[in-house]
């Protein structure tokens, strides 16, 4: 009896601990969000979104150029990364033989696992040094190198989920393979593929390390071949500074970045909850 009650006690304690773990971990998200809102919301005024930054120790100013700069870098990275990743994903799922797809898949996973700071070094050597300029292009290239494997692997997985009868039906009707892919398989996996893409883009928009020595920063408006300010780098610079005003801007910028990233993630899940299921 006492052995049983001990067993029951262990059971209850351990199960309760597991529950505590779950709620502890999940509550981190709310803590982060609440803390950012608490510190950042008060600085979200019109000038934050429309003004250029001011120099050390001066007050006021905004980070309009960093918001636009981030959009610019991410958009460029998306334009490069998504098509490449998508096509590679189609190859992996639909045209796979044995050896080549295995190598491609392995390399994509390898590329996906490379720390982002190392990708920053890479973009610096292949873009910044030959172009003789830090630029949004270099930053975008670094981010697209991260985006390609993510997109390729998620596209592949969602395409593979398309039910066999659907493919066979189209092929039986006499359609070419490419026609089946373009008109039947890809549309069937559309929602899943888009989810993967949105998640990938959300992931790269928060990346800081690959931008540190590629797009660098800028206190003015800039074109794509010039050093360009971005939200993450601005947060890093301002957070580690000594100025109260810059801390305020960092909080507000952090809030904006986090809300955008979380919204993208939520949107992606909403797309998928109305369509295919999430494969692993």
């Amino acid at each position: 009896m006492s052995r049983n009650s001990r067993r029951n006690a262990v059971n209850n304690i351990m199960l309760a601990l597991c529950g505590v773990c779950a709620f502890l971990t999940v509550s981190t998200l709310f803590l982060i969000l609440a803390y950012l809102v608490y510190n950042g919301a008060k600085s979200l005024n019109p000038s934050f979104f429309t003004q250029l930054p001011v120099g050390e120790g001066q007050t006021g100013g905004g980070i309009a150029n960093a918001i636009v700069g981030s959009a610019e870098v991410v958009l460029l990275a998306t334009l490069i990364g998504l098509p490449v990743g998508f096509m590679a994903g189609v190859y992996l799922a639909e045209f796979g033989g044995k050896t080549i797809p295995f190598i491609v898949r392995y390399t994509a996973d390898l590329l996906n696992g490379i720390p982002s700071i190392v990708i920053g070094i890479f973009a610096w050597t292949v873009v910044v040094v030959p172009m003789h300029h830090f630029s949004a292009i270099a930053g975008a290239l670094a981010l697209s190198v991260m985006l390609v494997p993510i997109t390729a692997r998620s596209t592949e997985q969602f395409l593979l989920e398309v039910p066999r009868p659907l493919r066979e039906g189209a092929l039986a009707l006499g359609a070419n393979k490419w026609k089946t892919i373009a008109t039947v398989i890809v549309p069937a996996a559309r929602k899943g593929i888009m989810t993967g893409m949105i998640l990938g883009v959300a992931r790269i928009s928060g990346e800081t390390a690959p931008l540190l020595f590629t797009s660098l920063s800028n206190q003015y408006w800039s074109g794509i071949s010039e050093p360009t300010a971005s939200l993450p780098v601005t947060i890093y610079n301002y957070a580690t500074s000594a100025y109260e005003d810059w801390h305020q801007l960092a909080w507000a910028a952090g809030l904006v970045l986090l809300v955008l990233v979380l919204l993208a993630n939520i949107a992606a899940r909403m797309v998928i909850s109305r369509g295919a299921s999430v494969p692993r």
Partner: protein
């Protein structure tokens, strides 16, 4: 989707000669090869740009503790040590928390709650690193400096790892922030592994009179063991390469110190700090070589994680 429909149209001219399937195959293959090309180029660039350092220091680079731009002597050991110790501390915290939470989500929580919580955990994984760093500077660092680290020192101050100056910035603080950043990975992958365990495993144990915990601990966990280990490796790989949050709280000191409260440096952090400012060519090459070391380190860990996840999912799906 605009891309796939554009593909066949653009290739109509060539279609007659080659056959559309071949064109589509060739086209997608080019993009697939692009992935390989970029990866090879990346390794090549790291290799070439680290040449100066590799030739000068050889393998001794890995075990040397010197990081002296005045004497132009560089070694990677303090950074390898910092990378490993912070990742280890992170796992020490995040593995029990993450696995516990995964057990709750897969075994105990009602389906709807489990799904909602899992979704929130996945959102947590999406929080950018720099935001963790931002929050850590202003909350975690003062907390560690004023309460946690003095508290630990008061209790276990005899151990050398808990002695010395308390800065708030240092290995332990970096470890804590890494723990928060890695547990979403452990939770979501471990949960999948646990869910893949066939129902009969649990039912058999319960039928034999085991409590819920005993069934979970003795029947379910062993079954999902490899998947959970895989999730830990995945978290480890992520922790090793994590840059921003660590850079912001580790204290940036290029020496090996026994105390966990001491400021240190990880491979990723030293690159972030010094790469665009390295004045000498050897200095720059040494930093690139650090990038190469980090690349190899994460590659090995990632490969191990992939292997274990593949093994368990196969086992799970074969039996379930």
């Amino acid at each position: 989707m605009a891309t796939p429909t554009a593909l066949p149209r653009s290739s109509t001219a060539v279609r007659r000669r080659f056959g559309a399937d071949e064109v589509a195959y060739g086209l997608t293959l080019i993009f697939a090869f692009l992935i390989i090309a970029v990866t090879v180029l990346l390794v090549w660039e790291l290799w070439v740009h680290s040449a100066l350092s590799r030739e000068k220091f050889g393998l001794g680079f890995i075990i040397s503790t010197a990081w002296d731009p005045v004497a132009e002597k560089y070694g990677a050991l303090p950074f390898i040590y910092g990378t490993l110790i912070t990742s280890f501390l992170a796992l020490l915290i995040s593995v029990p928390l993450g696995v516990g939470a995964a057990i709750y989500l897969s075994e105990l929580a009602p389906q709807r709650l489990s799904n909602t919580l899992t979704f929130l955990v996945e959102l947590l994984a999406a929080v950018p690193s720099v935001i963790y760093g931002l929050i850590a500077i202003f909350t975690l660092v003062p907390l560690m400096r004023s309460y946690v680290e003095p508290g630990i020192q008061a209790i276990a101050g005899d151990l050398p790892v808990f002695q010395g100056h308390i800065f708030g910035y240092g290995y332990l603080t970096a470890g804590v922030i890494l723990a928060v950043m890695t547990f979403p990975y452990i939770i979501s992958v471990s949960r999948e592994a646990l869910l893949a365990v066939p129902r009969e495993q649990r039912e058999a144990a319960l039928a034999l009179g085991a409590t819920k915990w005993e069934s979970t601990y003795q029947a379910v966990l062993p079954f999902a063991r490899l998947g959970i280990i895989g999730s830990i490796f995945l978290a480890l790989a992520r922790a090793l390469g994590e840059t921003m949050a660590v850079t912001m709280v580790i204290g940036n000191s290029n020496a090996i110190q026994a105390s966990l409260f001491a400021p240190g440096q990880t491979i990723a952090a030293v690159i972030a700090n010094e790469f665009s400012e390295a004045t000498g060519n050897t200095y720059l090459a040494a930093l690139v070589e650090l990038g190469l070391v980090l690349f190899v380190l994460t590659m090995v860990i990632n490969a191990m994680a992939q292997l274990m996840i593949i093994v368990t999912t196969k086992k799970g799906s074969a039996k379930g």
